[in-house]
Amino acid sequence: MYELILILPAAALIVSIFADVLWMSYLQLAVSVLVFCAVVAIALSFNSITIFLGGFFFVDYINLVILITVSTLELFVAFYSFGYVRTEIAGGISKRKFKFYYFWKNLFVFSMMVSILSNNLGIYWTGLEATTLATALLVSFNRTKESFEATWKYVIMCSVGIAIGLFAIVMLYFTTSQIYGESLKSLSFINIMHAGSKLDKNFLMLAFILALVGFGTKVGFAPMHNWLPDAHSQGPSPVSALLSGVLLNTALLGILRFYQINGAAGIYYPRYFLIGFGFFTILVSAFSIIKQTDYKRLFAFSSMENMGIIALGFGIGGIAVIGSLLQIFFHALNKGLLFLSSGNVLAVTHERKIEKIRNLSKNFPITGLVLLFGVMGISGMPPFAMFLGEIYIMTGVFRSNIILGFLVFILLIFIFIGLFGKILKMYAGNNDNDERADELQSENTAHPFMIYVPLILLLVSSLLLFYIPSQFLNIVKSASYEFGGKIIF
């Protein structure tokens, strides 16, 4: 059961080299559904840490939350891709190009699964670097000058960032090898957690800071973020959804692992670094969102903001950790629907600028509505699930420090105004001087899957506010205990 999660994407990866694209899109649906079912089965029967494949991989409560997130979003993206491939091929892109699309996408998902499930920090690193490489050629999929430049920035910055993360792992390996000797055992996460307070505290602290800066580059924390909006906005929309929704969480998992190790060793001040980086990220993204002119970049900055909120929640601890864990899942769904529905607009109009797109309500009735409600959801408005995550985090922040709470609250309002004002103009604004373009472009040229998948995601995201499966809630609760989160439901 556990092995299936790794084997299925790997098998799809190999088949995609030989298979025809249209045939491959059916297979991709089957693979994604099977992976999703396997993860659901694991989640339903999960009650303690499970090791598999010779101790190199394991599932605990924290990576199970991220695993559920990845497999759920991947399922929707697979259905969307089914329509996306057909629409783009009908629009004149060669089939050969899309063969590589499935190849790299499966490699991306496979390496992401490897790094999420890995028990060994070295393997986690290898998987994370492999995700950068697998997505590099997806980001430059359109082969324009902008996309190549974005890819260059992405690969160089993330590679250097992750190299600093490797330095952190070396530091950690040095401390743990004094207990377990120099073998793979000293990199095994479970063993490191067992060693706990016996580890050298100075080196652990140094390792955490290096990991925060290194993996933080890939999460998109504020001073190291400038690759993120370019890379996330240049890729094909399904890939953007995966990059924003789940890859950032995979990188965050690395920081959380180091955070956990520090917690186990009795070092508690790393949380101030998480709070600091989280707050600064929200601040920078709030000011960037207000002056954005490109709607995909807008959503990329919004991912950054949400990563900041999640980091802030983990730093605050207590009730906010539950909020952060819920936010990881809900943000992935919500950001997925935003990127997918904006992908429809992009696929039909081939226009990225906000001011060029007006009157979506007429030509894109469903997509436009999904986009509008999605933006409401991503800002944490009540009928959508992210409200729940954000209210927990904000409660935690207000409880711990009321001034910080007000600052974050004001920034969130800024972000809401920035996002909602721009999307509302796209949805309802009138384009007086360009009547001709309105006639030609309509969402009907897109494959029905492209229109309805974001809609279903929106419904799911709304439904989750009212009903969260109790097993998922249990997993989140147990995961939050690892960070000292306590709550009575």
Binding site: E129, L133, S140, S159
Partner: protein, 205 residues
């Protein structure tokens, strides 16, 4: 004792090659220097392997030579031939200033290493100092030079520094992890080469 001296010589040669890299604008020379620097790193690992008689380090030596000394420089040369540039012309700070800066970074890393390293590490804090200096100078190469090739060289230098650190404070990472890291590095160089060729078609590199 004599072995430690030889190992220290290799490490000093690594630092020398990095500083030479800072002082030279020629890209072909920089790739050659990188290859040389990796070879010195490999020899250093070999010294450790002989000293501790460890299979792990022998394996590490072999894969370092294969990936860092042969494969990566080979592909970089191949890309360079297609791109047809030979000299770095766009720098944020001039060469003399950069060399002085590199020297001060070495001093700084000595100070840092003294602070955090206590005794009882493989070859003492000396190796750690050099690896930290290499790391910082590699980062400086990346931010002060504009040519894409120089950025790759800077990135590779940073990577070498981390390998050196891994081999100085411990006896190298486990072989499996090291293999994964090197393979990722190799693939990232391939992808960056592809990107350089594609960017060359659109804009000046």
């Amino acid at each position: 004792m004599i072995m430690e001296k030889i190992a220290e010589l290799f490490i000093i040669l690594i630092l020398v090659s990095v500083v030479l890299n800072v002082s030279s604008p020629f890209i072909k020379f920089a790739i050659k220097l990188y290859s040389f620097q990796s070879l010195m790193l490999a020899f250093y690992i070999l010294m450790g392997a002989v000293h501790f008689n460890s299979i792990n380090l022998y394996g590490s030596f072999v894969i370092t030579v294969i990936f860092k000394v042969i494969l990566i420089p080979y592909f970089l040369f191949k890309t360079l031939k297609k791109v047809k540039i030979d000299k770095e012309i766009d720098m944020y700070i001039g060469i003399p200033e950069a060399v002085v800066f590199a020297g001060s970074l070495t001093l700084l890393s000595n100070l840092i290493a003294q602070k955090i390293i206590n005794t009882g590490i493989t070859f003492g804090s000396f190796v750690f100092t050099i690896s930290l200096a290499t790391f910082l100078i590699g980062a400086m190469l990346m931010v002060t030079r504009k040519t894409l090739f120089s950025q790759i060289i800077g990135f590779l230098t940073i990577d070498n520094a981390i390998f050196l650190a891994a081999n100085s404070i411990t006896h190298g990472m486990p072989l499996l992890v090291e293999l994964g890291v090197l393979f990722d590095l190799f693939v990232s160089i391939l992808i960056l080469s592809v990107l350089i060729l594609n960017l060359r078609r659109n804009v000046a590199v």
